[in-house]
């Protein structure tokens, strides 16, 4: 069967003046639909760069990236924006919600960029917030919510456009252990419902939730095995 994500021999080169720095040096990775993958690695290993490329926030220097049958490597900025909008749901360590907007508006935001009508947007955003257990927090602004609640809003936002992948970058990094476990449980639940999850972390405990662990070191894949 065809893979949801197919990365072939990707490199990423950063040039700072005379100095050339390879963040990725030939990465091959294939991820199937409904997988739950953790990408691990110490800081500076290139895992953030890989995540940015998978999330279409950045483009590789060389190599191919095929996402859901589309060759992302060829796309311009606006096409990438559209891919991010429709195919990818981001969950960030620092939540990255808009501070001046309430939960409902934060969640409906991707749908604005997809051009849905207000009525449709609100209906879907409300459903999404109910699904993450925030039915009574819809009109709260981020600073009126706890860390866990904020991350739930972020998860609802990531899910709103039915993306191909949920991409979570250290989703529990700013949460206490108990709240972190709750968020991980929520993510697990999403995976069981059929969502493909890629989680980037440096914590073994968090990575254990995934069914497959990819370890990166020095810009290359060090190991790629099923979790036990």
């Amino acid at each position: 069967m065809s893979n949801l994500i197919e990365i072939r021999n990707i490199t990423k080169l950063y040039e700072m003046g005379e100095e050339k720095l390879y963040a990725l040096r030939g990465v091959n990775l294939a991820i199937e639909k409904n997988e739950y993958v953790a990408i691990m690695g110490p800081s500076g290993s290139g895992k953030s760069t890989l995540m940015n490329i998978i999330g279409c926030l950045d483009t590789p220097t060389s190599g191919d990236y095929i996402l859901n049958g589309k060759d992302v490597h060829e796309m311009d900025d606006d096409e990438l924006a559209e891919i991010r909008n429709r195919e990818i749901g981001f969950v960030f360590q620092t939540f990255n919600l808009l501070p001046r907007s309430n939960a409902l508006h934060n969640v409906e935001l991707p749908l604005i960029y997809s051009g849905l009508s207000r009525h449709e947007r609100l209906k879907r955003a409300e459903d999404a917030l109910v699904n993450v257990g925030l039915a009574d927090r819809m009109t709260h602004k981020p600073n009126e919510l706890s860390g866990g609640q904020r991350q739930r809003v972020a998860v609802a936002r990531a899910l709103i456009n039915n993306p191909s992948i949920i991409l979570a970058d250290e989703p529990t990094g700013n949460l206490d252990t108990k709240t972190g476990e709750e968020i991980m449980a929520l993510i697990k639940e999403l995976n069981l419902k059929g969502n493909t999850i890629i989680i980037v972390t440096h914590e073994e405990d968090i990575a254990k939730h995934a069914t497959r662990i990819v370890k990166i070191r020095d810009g290359m894949i060090e190991s790629d095995k099923m979790s036990n």
């Binding site: 990255n96 991707p110 604005i112 960029y113 997809s114």
Partner: protein, 418 residues
Amino acid sequence: MNPTKCQIRQMNLFIEIKESIIIAYQAITAHKMRSMLATLGIVIGITAVTLMQTAIEGINNAFEKSIASVGADVLYVQKFEWFGREDFEYYRNRKDITMQNYEFLKKYSQTADAVSPSAGSMQTLQYGNLNLENVFVIGTTDDYQRTLGVNMDDGRFFSSKESEGGYPVAAIGMDVRNAFFPNSNPIGQDIKVGSYTFRVIGVIEKQGSLLGLVSLDNRVIIPIEKFFKLFGTKRSLSINVKAKDIKALDETREEVASIMRKTRKVPLGGKDDFGINNQSAFRETYESLTSLIKVIGLLITSLSLIVGSVGIANIMFVSVKERTKEIGIRKAIGARKRTILMQFLIESSIICLFGGVIGLSIAFPISLIIDATVLPTSMPLWVVFLGLFISLLFGVLAGFFPAYNAAKMDPVDSLRYE
């Protein structure tokens, strides 16, 4: 590609604009003081520019009003040319304009509606023991009323019989009436023009003044035949020709010129030895004098608008910098370059437009005060729209570079920005 893609894009644009307006509103209200200060420059600029334009309108109106008495469709055939370029001597040495010229014109002109000669002299008027010095006495025919469209306030103008017979009758201007007959009926009274007695038969409606300088009411109009008898014939006349059709004024001018050349025996190829004057000479001179001043005035006032928009650009740069993270978030979840560009352009446009509205609402009452005190004017509607358009334009200009910077930000870098 599926065929509805284009429609979806248009739909997107509309929704994005709505969203941008909401964001701009939030951003502006989140920094009320800052936005107010930023827009102050635009407020001052728009106030200055619209007041300048209003003042120009007022001056133009005043000018139009003051030359209305000259009559747009009347040609004045005279020795001198109004605002002529030659020396005074050149015009003075021309042959006088005579009654013969007048009769010739009256007889042969096809396109003239009415022709009247006029001769003028400064005289002292006397009524009882009241004296009025330096009154302009005009000798003319009964057609004068038709050529210059003079209306009577009281009584009547003299008839052709009185005109041809040189009867001692006079139509007086409003200034003369007010001086001699403040509370009594002037009709039928005898006044002295110089040392000759005239009977007042009519009062001419108030004419105002020419360019605010010369009163047109300090006058007495008498039959030209009488005028010649009393004050002599050795003077150059002005022949007033009213055109039948103002649209064909140029034709009338040509016809008058050729008749005049014939009667004055100007050789073929020779220069005209007379001037054909018209209201437009005033307008041209006025425009050549004032257009530069107007342009400079508007430029100087526009400077404040430019300074104001630099302020807006500055604030927009700060606003973009502050919201780097927000831009990153929006890009990560699917905002295109266009969306981000539009968001900041709309924000700066709203600030400027808001400044424009405040500026106009300050300028409007001031224009009313000017109207009531300095000179009659009104802020034309087009100035209001122009003011709003200019503020919008400056908003877009001031916002463009900051917005462009925001739009081309790298999503990874801006997400990482703290």
